[in-house]
Symmetry: C2
Subunit: 395 residues, 2 copies
């Protein structure tokens, strides 16, 4: 080979897709801290602090609150392979891609899948979960997506948790896109096990999946009859590395833990209440602007996530033209639709560091400019004016 | 909570354990590059270059040469869950912890395990593999550890590959601790599938596992009758993200890929030949010094890894006293023994950036200083003098 490989120099993007979000320079700096060993006493202290801070954002006292060494989907698989054994029954709410993914993994666990479906863009109705539990005695898990990244739907958790518990099932919630953006409150909501991601509202690079199990879930783990099918994600062993025993399991991704600790420290400094308020405010201003532009939103207001907004692509407007122009002309990344909504949806993220007034104005302005080059009729300036009004009334 | 969380400021360690090794500041800097999306055209180019550079260090033309989004053990699981189906037979060479780990995972795949054992510290004899294949018709995989991290044994691959192929089995090799330190040469050696780690001789932070499958292995993957039991590690899907299709599977750990590309670029700039020579030279000088100090090595010279040296702990010397003094007084991390060798072994790594003359001298000097405080008799200055002589004769 005699090819030359240049210095890394990607474009400086404004990340307003469904994740990763932009990352604070303090997190980048922390990530670049020189390495120490995964059994170094200094590192064990860093792990302890990371667990404490994770408990804070999750709103939980769960001792088993750790970061799995993979991205969000590895956390999904962690919850399912550790809690399910062949033949177990699991109810899954499917109203988007990530519910589908849970269903796929449940099948790979040899468990019996009981799907409860809803239209993409709607919530899963608690009574449908109840119905499924009535019709299928002995269900072990009810699995639900708190913030469906493929549609921008916010699923209320408490009522479904109560139903699950009445039927002696555990509630597993996907909090990948909610953690750090809207209240997750595991203990108050009655969530028994959860997994999340780092690259959404925590504004940390992707590479880890925070996972939390309460005592009931830990008991299920301890009472397993069969080995967990994944060695890499086996919590019966991994808990002894994050726990007091500090048994070596695999080499932790040191630099990613550095980054996560710093990202969590930033959340802690801002405070959860202020952070949720910021996400709500910028999300509200943005959706107000989008509607003022004459665009339609997928999700009704009550269940709309402030950190991930799904916009219907208007008739006659070409998805790829708009997104590639946003990227090439403005360095703004937004997401397209997934699965059955591919080509029909734009997904705009206002997550963590990316959730700012500056980004709201810029994205509205850029979208307006690009749409004005299509057949879609757009009144220039209306979007930003509406957002401005929203900020005035809600700040 | 009102606890204060301080700036990250761990000790500056000299990493001479079994990994992670120290990381070049260029890699840390690259890792701290601002994030871009996992489907950004800039990122796709970075992925392509990473694949090219991985092929270079692996010594392969294999198209499917990618980095899995987990640490080395996730790569081990990737190879096994993708190539095995329930009921398949796999022969595994077990002469250390990582052979044991493969055996454990093979069991979790529902495959039939055929162990071929050797004493820890010895190689697996090719004739024992042949015997196992003769006695067990229809074996699908032969699994072997190229560089056994728990013992420092270098396992020759070619002869075992030839035997496996004569019996129509694929050879899977663990190259976690060999890649970038000693020749791996997948294509020349006849390795059909392999996994590695980044935090050993590539001197990149832990968090990714380079994996390579040749066409025969890809065919086995394509002809599976059952779904891969792990969704997160399912190469039938992941290959479409790293391949031309660029289908979204999971969010890649962007920053880790930045780091890996830069670490590989450093390997490429040094050149593989020069890099292997450096590892041999420093490993040779260190072992010469260790023997001059009167310490014994676990592995006989022919099969000794230059990048990971296993030293028997002399009678009456306390493992934890020596290792903690090395860490606290000199900021040097070395490893202890694993599994049945716990308390009986020190493992010293001279990997990647950590493989330097400076580290050889420092570690010998520090060890000598600490051992002189125990009952072990050590002639002051002999170790460094012997190492110096070795450098003179071999540079």
């Amino acid at each position: 080979m005699c090819k030359e490989y240049h210095d890394l120099n990607p474009h400086q993007r404004i990340l307003m897709g469904p994740g990763p979000s932009n990352v604070d320079s303090r997190v980048l700096k922390a990530m670049a801290t020189p390495l120490i060993g995964h059994l170094d006493p200094d590192f064990l202290e860093i792990m302890n602090e990371t667990m404490e801070l994770l408990r804070y954002v999750f709103g939980t006292e769960n001792e088993m609150t750790i970061a799995m060494s993979g991205t969000g989907s590895s956390g999904m698989e962690t919850c399912l392979v550790n809690l399910l054994e062949p033949g177990d029954k699991a109810v899954v709410g499917i109203n988007g891609l990530f519910g589908q993914r849970m269903a796929d993994i449940i099948g790979r666990c040899g468990a019996e899948l009981i799907p409860v479906e809803a239209e993409w863009g709607k919530i899963i109705e608690p009574e449908d979960i109840e119905e499924a539990l009535k019709n299928n005695p002995g269900v072990k898990l009810v699995c639900i997506v708190h913030a469906e990244t493929s549609t921008g739907v916010r699923q209320p958790l408490k009522e479904i948790a109560d139903i699950a518990h009445r039927f002696d099932a555990l509630l597993v919630a996907d909090t990948v896109t909610s953690l750090g953006g809207i209240p997750v409150e595991l203990d108050k909501n009655g969530v028994d096990a959860t997994y999340s991601g780092t690259q959404k509202c925590l504004s940390c690079p992707p590479g880890l999946s925070p996972v939390s199990f309460n005592e009931k879930a830990v008991k299920v783990l301890e009472n397993r009859k069969s080995k967990v099918q994944s060695w890499y994600l086996d919590l019966t062993m991994i808990r002894n590395y994050w726990g007091k025993e500090r048994f070596y399991h695999h080499t932790a991704p040191i630099s990613m833990i550095y980054a996560l600790r710093e990202a969590l420290r930033l959340v802690y400094e801002e405070g959860l209440e202020a952070r949720y308020k910021r996400h709500l405010l910028n999300g509200g201003a943005f959706t107000t602007g989008i509607e003022a532009m004459g665009l339609e939103l997928l999700v009704e207001e009550e269940y709309r996530l402030p950190e991930l907004i799904a916009i219907k692509i208007p008739e006659g407007v070409e998805d790829s033209f708009v997104r590639s122009t946003l990227l090439n002309e403005f360095n703004i990344e937004i997401g397209g639709g997934l699965g059955e909504l591919a080509g029909k949806l734009w997904r705009v993220g206002l997550m963590g560091v990316s959730s700012t007034k500056k980004n709201v104005y810029l994205c509205l302005t850029a979208l307006e400019s690009i749409l004005s080059r299509t057949d879609f009729k757009v009144e220039r300036g209306a979007a930003v004016a509406a957002a401005e009004e929203y900020y005035k009334n809600n700040s």
